[in-house]
Amino acid sequence: MADKFKSTRIVDDYTPIVHNEENILEVVQLKKYFPIKSGLLQRVVGYVKAVDGVTFNIKRGTTMGLVGESGCGKTTVGRTILRLYEKSGGQVLFNGQDIHKYNAKEMRDLRPKMQIIFQDPYSSLSPRLPVGEIISEAVREHELVPSEAFEDHIDNIMNKCGLQPYHKDRYPHEFSGGQRQRICIARALALNPEFVVCDEPVSALDVSIQAQIINLLMDLQEQFNLTYLFISHDLSVVEHISSTIGVMYLGDLVEYGSKKDIFANPLHPYTQALFSAIPVPEPGAKMNRIVLEGSIPSPANPPRGCKFHTRCAYCMDRCKVEEPLQRELEPDHFVACHLYDQEPEKTS
């Protein structure tokens, strides 16, 4: 046991990692700050540090789940990776290319390769366009499919997503929530993407519909060899769909590793608390629930040192001043916590 903890490695600040062919996406120390403006002149008085140094990578054809409470920056990570937001620092490598250095033309060519599925299927579809147009618009704009095969391509995608060809002429309001989410998925997949960010795709849906959409996403992943970044606050869904999991807290990735490691052996106190809070559908199940006191601090004014120290049961003096660095405690299992710095034994 002790040997395992000795072989720790500190992931350095901003050393661009060598691109590994296995990885479709590599994110190094990604930062995104939103300015807070105030006063008559709208001067910048501070920053909301929505994402503050996040490092991870995703292997081709796998799913990474990103979990955390609302306001911890999960969605901002997803959007900054797609360059829907400009980054404030760090690096995003997509297939080994730094996409934040691309110009508008290059970015446009790259867009079909990376797509996003939004949370709310009720507000992410234009109410004025028929469904066929919603799905095919981007394909036509990017001229991905020759015009004679165009209709077949759209029909094929719709069919794969569980939609019928006659749905093409209908408008989004004629569909139920689950069907709309299928339209959103079809819209994303019509462009033959390699990488899809799923931003809470099932949160707005009923339990039985959730299962359909999750199954659909997993089937499509197999067929098209897709890579997903699956953002959700529902841990049981993330556990089902992902192969690696990242846990975020207030803009930091506090723990990151394979699903097996994280669920069998959560190391960070926040991860432990988060997992113990999942309600289990089994009456009388004995739970050693760790209830976190208080709520998540404001990201505009985060606590000094470790951001979790205000709610942590194992808080030490050191946590209040020094920010912990991400360490690799087990192979491919990273955690940012002072508890695992030198001593293997836990202070409880």
Partner: protein
Amino acid sequence: MINKKDSKKKIKRANYLSASQSLNIARHNRKMMRHFEKRNNRKNVPESEYLAEMKKPGNVVEFDDLHTYFFTDAGTVKAVDGVSFDVPLGKTVGVVGESGCGKSVTSLSLMQILQRPIGQIVSGSIRFDTGSKVYDIAKMPSEKMQKIRGNNISMIFQEPMTSLNPVFRIGTQVDEIIKLHNPEMDKEEIKARTIEMLEMVSIANCEGVYRMYPHELSGGMRQRVMIAMSLACSPRLIIADEPTTALDVTIQAQILDLLRNLKDKINSSIMLITHDLGVIAEMADYVVVMYAGRIVEKGTANEIFNHPSHPYTIGLMASKPSVNKRVERLYSIPGKVPNPINMPDYCYFRDRCEKRFGRCDGPYPNEYNLSPTHSTHCYLYADDQEERQDG
């Protein structure tokens, strides 16, 4: 315009209403709504008319064959169609089901806050024991209901973000309820009571929160304020309508703990409405599973989770991913809920059911008891004796 395809025409026709049809519907609706509104708005009704007696003295609420309909322009929607279950004193009853299955409408009927005049309790009774008297809420006129609502029955809503008034301070909003139901209390007493309530729901800085506006509080804190408001008059029944759906997991754990502890402290019952089976398993003593406006299965939490009987309950359990059990593929119930305006006359779940057999073509199944507390509406469990009784 676009040349319409045949398939599209056929699909469209299903929902098509001719002018005379919609005129007929409108005429029928007007007649029905006028009839029920007259009943609701009566003044000086003798109390004997809505006094009732509990079937079992240990219950707080007994729903007995409740029918709540919505008279819409497209036809009558039977949102709740013959629901009967009991809420025993000091226990938690969980109501589960998909959205649109009538679980919220059941609770709105109990509070008499249906969207009137469209929504009406058409028949059946809701007996509620206030401690001294038993009332039938389905027959109660609206003006009398105001004494019960908030005082004996209170409700926690799903969205803590929108259920508080943004232009009043927290203190004012909690004070209002106490003042309304206890006119004899003076200002200081009311304020002291409010602060006591805020303290009870573990709000740390309660004097400060008393003077705050809702936007200054986080979601979890707002839900605590909502709980404080609902507990202010020590109600006998708390209806919690998806109390944690809008909250994060860690906050959800806090709120559930709080609800459980408070229920014992003031000895009231909780009717917990949610679609999260995990929350139900953790909180509820009894579980009611609803589908398309009817109860398909009810029983104790142990019976429902360990021996689910109705195919819908089984499907619902299997479609929820769980951290403890590993499955390759989630089960998903095929098909969709039937159109609420045109319900079939056979079992509502038949078209989606994988275990259907010949008998399922018959009328909607009766209630079959599996144990004294566990019952289900499914022909799979109809034994011979009951068959003879049905004829």
